[in-house]
Symmetry: C2
Subunit: 220 residues, 2 copies
DNA sequence: TGATTTATGTTACTTTCTTCACAATAAAAT
DNA sequence: ATTTTATTGTGAAGAAAGTAACATAAATCA
């Protein structure tokens, strides 16, 4: 399934939970569309695609929707991740309330610096040398990379070989899965979400400035 | 211009600077395509779209490419941003090396808690009450929102009315620019990049798990 | 100088995602 | 019971982004 649909599912889910708390029981494609800024037709198509069916003139039952989406997003058991690189961003992520609120648990952090290690914290921080065994023992599948640029590729390869298949990468290196590489056997492939904060901000500046330019032209 | 193209431009730029440091002078669409994981045709199309022209059989001159992209991305003057909400994520961002390395300067942070305020730090942290005047005086156009969910909308509206038009939003609220709202005059519109970390991780779990399911089916 | 090689620039194609539009149908109203 | 209303579900149209392919032209080589 398309990444965009899956992202929308997460957002529908968040919204539906809020509506439920408020006390609503049914919701229309129209409402969900407004909240997400998409057309109601797309909402209905998303649901139809997932075999979720509503009621003519009655909309969708919120509880049913949440249940269906939970099933698809595997939200019925806790989602365990690790964070590799406990610098500012890594630590911020480990302590981020939003994750826990959404049922995501950070099983451990890892760092190369001995002074960062604290095995008995609520979320333990372990040395890189324990990375491989931890991932294998706990069967961790998803990890965050928040190490400096120079370490990113080697950390990535360690994580892949230990069994991680989903990556959220905050290092500026554009990680990509190279099927041709000897390192990875073909049966494996992995999913990488590269978030480069500088690039995201640069991108905003482009649009802000291009709008300013347009306005200047328009005023001439 | 399409968001995807602009993101690729940032990535080309990063790469080109590295190639330049190594000592290269020319580069082929092929090289850039490999590095970014796209087809060479798309690289050429991107450049052609930007009126950047190469040399038949000779590829593109790296210096020229960098200069053209810098112009488009406004990288010839420092890009000043503010960070509103100096919790874990906000602070991590303010001190993030990657931003400075890419010519992005955090002009100030803002927080509601008096104990966080420190007007004389290298990057000052000011109270929310100074937000409006600071944005207006310094003509800041781009801001990061890293406040708790409950504050996000009100902070967003304050920033819009002070003149911010580009937003990187880490709060779980899906901010969107509502033209119909009385709050915003129609001549303004703004660019919002919502990054919901929990949603990004959920998304990875979906793919990781769906691959596992496929494998189980295949083995039956 | 002419042939050959190699990378660009661009047109046409393909694919993928979204919106439009409307038939189907369930609930509500009369 | 019949009509009206409101919302779903979906097939067809449209838009957008990326790929493939090839004519074009510069550089090299003979």
């Amino acid at each position: 399934m398309n990444r965009e649909i899956v992202l929308r599912l997460s957002k529908y889910r968040r919204l539906l939970q809020k509506l439920k708390i408020i006390g609503l029981e049914k919701v229309f494609s129209n409402n969900l569309g407004d909240a997400l800024g998409v057309t109601p037709a797309l909402v209905r198509k998303d649901f139809s695609h997932l075999k979720i069916t509503g009621n003519k003139r009655g909309g969708y039952i919120i509880d049913d929707l949440i249940a269906s989406i939970n099933l698809i997003l595997c939200k019925n058991h806790p989602l365990e991740i690790i964070v590799v690189g406990c610098g500012k961003i890594g630590t911020a992520l480990m302590q981020h309330r939003g994750l826990a609120e959404d049922g995501i648990k950070v099983a451990a952090g890892f760092d190369i610096k001995p002074e960062k290690i604290s095995k008995n914290s609520e979320i333990p921080i372990l040395g890189i040398e324990e990375l491989d065994s931890f991932i294998k023992n706990r069967q961790i599948k998803v990890g965050v990379i928040s190490v400096p640029e120079s370490m990113a590729t080697s950390v990535f390869e360690k994580m892949v070989s230990a069994g991680i298949t989903g990556f959220l990468n905050f290092s500026p290196v554009e990680l990509k899965f190279n099927k041709d590489s000897q390192l990875f056997d073909n049966s494996n492939s992995c999913f990488i979400n590269n978030i480069n904060l500088a690039v995201e901000i640069e991108n905003l500046f482009y649009y802000v400035n291009s709008r300013d330019k347009e306005e200047k032209q328009a005023s001439n």
